[in-house]
């Protein structure tokens, strides 16, 4: 099975080509912006390196968020249009589960894993995982001071990963659990996107068009009285 995976959801841009269980071509650049310039040349380079046309793919996979709104749209617009023009199905995966997927089994905490991502606002994006590949609940946007309460009574260690990991560690310092930083990349990686997609998808599975997971409504205030001078 051939899977082209990509991620532009946070502070990097990466593309990976998975062929029958192995990554055969891969690019990653860390960048806080500039994914709109970097992504398409990366995809072309990764396909060229393997000598493949897009139409020879079995599946496209892309991160849908939570993450930077512009980054999500860059990845999703690209993946969905590739799917259309190459007639290949497209699978969306959450950024948080991709980061959890990137944690080596040896580094996995004896307890649960908390993925915490920077939202560029006061809140952070979080999701809990009880075991590799097993989420305990949906991704959420939450204020750090409410994190301990949101976690509730979990037993065992809590390993924290993600680019808001430091914020989460401070927020959870009062917890009775042993809370520590997991030694893993806090940035989603297209190789993990591909690996997770390969686990989850079988040829012939339905693939509804992936949609962004913004977790926050658009920042826009409704004008008072619709902006009328005399309501």
């Amino acid at each position: 099975m051939r899977i082209l995976a990509m991620d532009t959801s946070t502070s990097a841009c990466s593309v990976a080509l998975w062929c029958d269980g192995a990554i055969v071509s891969y690019r990653l650049s860390e960048m806080s912006r500039g994914q709109a310039e970097a992504l398409a040349p990366m995809i072309a380079a990764v396909l060229d390196e393997a000598g493949l046309n897009a139409s020879a793919l079995d599946l496209l996979a892309v991160t849908v968020g939570p993450g930077a709104f512009t980054g999500l749209r860059i990845g999703l617009a690209t993946a969905r249009a590739l799917a259309l023009a190459a007639d290949v199905p497209c699978l969306g995966l959450s950024t948080t589960e991709v980061i959890a997927q990137g944690v080596d089994e040896n580094a996995w905490p004896d307890g649960c894993l908390l993925v915490a991502l920077d939202s560029k606002r006061s809140d952070i994006y979080v999701q809990m995982f009880s075991k590799p590949g097993q989420a305990a609940g949906e991704p959420q946007a939450i204020e750090p001071e409410k994190l301990g309460q949101w976690l509730g009574d979990v037993s065992g260690h809590i390993g924290v990963v993600g680019d808001a990991g430091a914020v989460a560690l401070v927020a959870l310092s009062e917890k009775a659990n042993d809370v520590f930083a997991v030694d893993a990349s806090g940035v989603p990686d297209a190789r993990a996107v591909a690996a997770l997609a390969a686990q989850r998808w079988n040829v012939g599975d339905p693939t509804p068009s992936p949609t962004p997971l913004y977790l926050r409504p658009p920042d826009a205030k409704l004008p008072r009285d619709g902006g009328r001078l005399r309501p």
Partner: protein, 358 residues
């Protein structure tokens, strides 16, 4: 030659398939009016989300309607700016991805160039170079000398608001809803334009630049000075008529200056072309018709579907570029960076007192 065009720079999500003979094989325009109406104007984040939601489906439907396969395309073009950057990015990435999938040239088109060349799309009404373009929409207000594909000279621009924006804000203040242009025009029909003394900003001054922010404020002050309580229908009609007449006077004055300047540099002006949403306003069109008649220059307004934002003009601008310079030279890199600001004439001196966004 068949080209796919994509437009997502403001509040219309659009795709079109166009041939080099100027035939529009299919086109789709999805307006986001309902999404933006509660806000009384276009909200960038709302627009960007809506573009992403619909663009791939629209492109697919448009290609099917045209009966064109992606492998039959010569190139894929998208608006690369100027515009609301979140939306521009969605269109550009969609076009780049199709280009990668089909190994096609990707062409980034300046939205203003799309409008500038739209008067040449219809084979039966093709305007020859050079001509003068007045582009008046919600996001732009410019006078351009159109000399050939890639050759434009900006004669004037707004130093603050675009005229369409002033229409929208006037409608919003008076409670006429969104979009404001058609609502103000309808209300103005039965109004007395001379009742309120509204200013004609920039009128009579040298040059071809515009300013509408003061006119908008004058409408606000005139409205606030009315007796307390809800506005009477008569008041709204008179204010709208006054605003529209002032806008028409200003446009005619600035355009007359632009015609003079154009004729200093060219033997003749083949046409005065008007484009953009405001060009659909009949009162303003009549005002410009009078001016054009006086100068013996034909006034050309592309059909409404080509006047407002659309993707056929983006595909057509790419076709003009390919025809003029060949597909290799017309192509942009896959690393093209979407541009929120992109002057069509980078050599134009910035307008006096212009704000950063002008």
């Amino acid at each position: 030659m068949i080209v796919l065009g994509i437009e997502t720079s403001c509040d219309e999500t659009a795709a079109a398939v166009v041939t080099d003979t100027g035939e529009i094989l299919a086109e789709t325009v999805l307006s986001q009016l309902d999404e933006h109406r509660p806000y009384g104007g276009v909200v960038p984040e709302v627009a960007a989300r809506a573009h992403l939601e619909h663009i791939d489906r629209l492109v697919g439907e448009t290609m099917s309607k045209a009966g064109t396969g992606f492998d039959q395309l010569e190139a894929v073009a998208a608006t690369g700016g100027p515009g609301l950057i979140g939306g521009v990015i969605v269109g550009v990435m969609t076009a780049k991805a199709i280009a990668v999938a089909q190994k096609l040239p990707f062409i980034a088109i300046n939205h203003l160039e799309g409008h500038a060349l739209s008067a040449r799309l219809e084979a039966t009404n093709r305007v020859e170079f050079p001509y003068l373009l007045l582009l008046v929409s919600g996001g732009h207000c410019q006078l351009l000398s159109v000399e050939g594909p890639g050759h434009y000279k900006r004669l004037g621009t707004t130093i603050d608001d675009a005229l369409g924006e002033a229409f929208d804000k006037t409608a919003k203040m008076l409670g006429l809803g969104y979009p404001g242009g058609p609502a103000v025009e309808a209300a103005a029909k039965h109004g007395e334009a001379s009742r309120f003394a509204l200013p004609r900003p920039m009128k009579g001054r040298p040059g071809c630049d515009f300013s509408f922010s003061g006119l908008k404020t004058a409408v606000r002050h005139a409205a606030m000075a009315l007796p307390e309580g809800p506005f009477e229908e008569r008041d709204i009609a008179d204010l709208c008529a006054g605003f529209q007449a002032a806008a028409g006077d200003v446009l005619a004055d600035r355009t007359a200056h632009a015609i003079d300047r154009f004729l200093q540099e060219h033997d003749k002006c083949n046409a005065l072309v008007i484009a953009g949403g405001v060009a659909a306003n009949q009162s303003i069109r009549q005002r410009l018709q009078k001016l054009a008649d006086k100068q013996a220059i034909p006034l050309v307004a592309p059909p409404a579907s080509l006047c407002t934002d659309n993707a056929a003009m983006i595909a057509w601008a790419a076709i003009e570029r390919i025809t003029a310079s060949g597909p290799g030279a017309a192509e942009d890199g896959l690393d093209f960076r979407p541009r929120p600001r992109w002057p069509l004439d980078p050599d134009a001196p910035s307008a006096a007192f212009a704000g950063a966004k002008a």
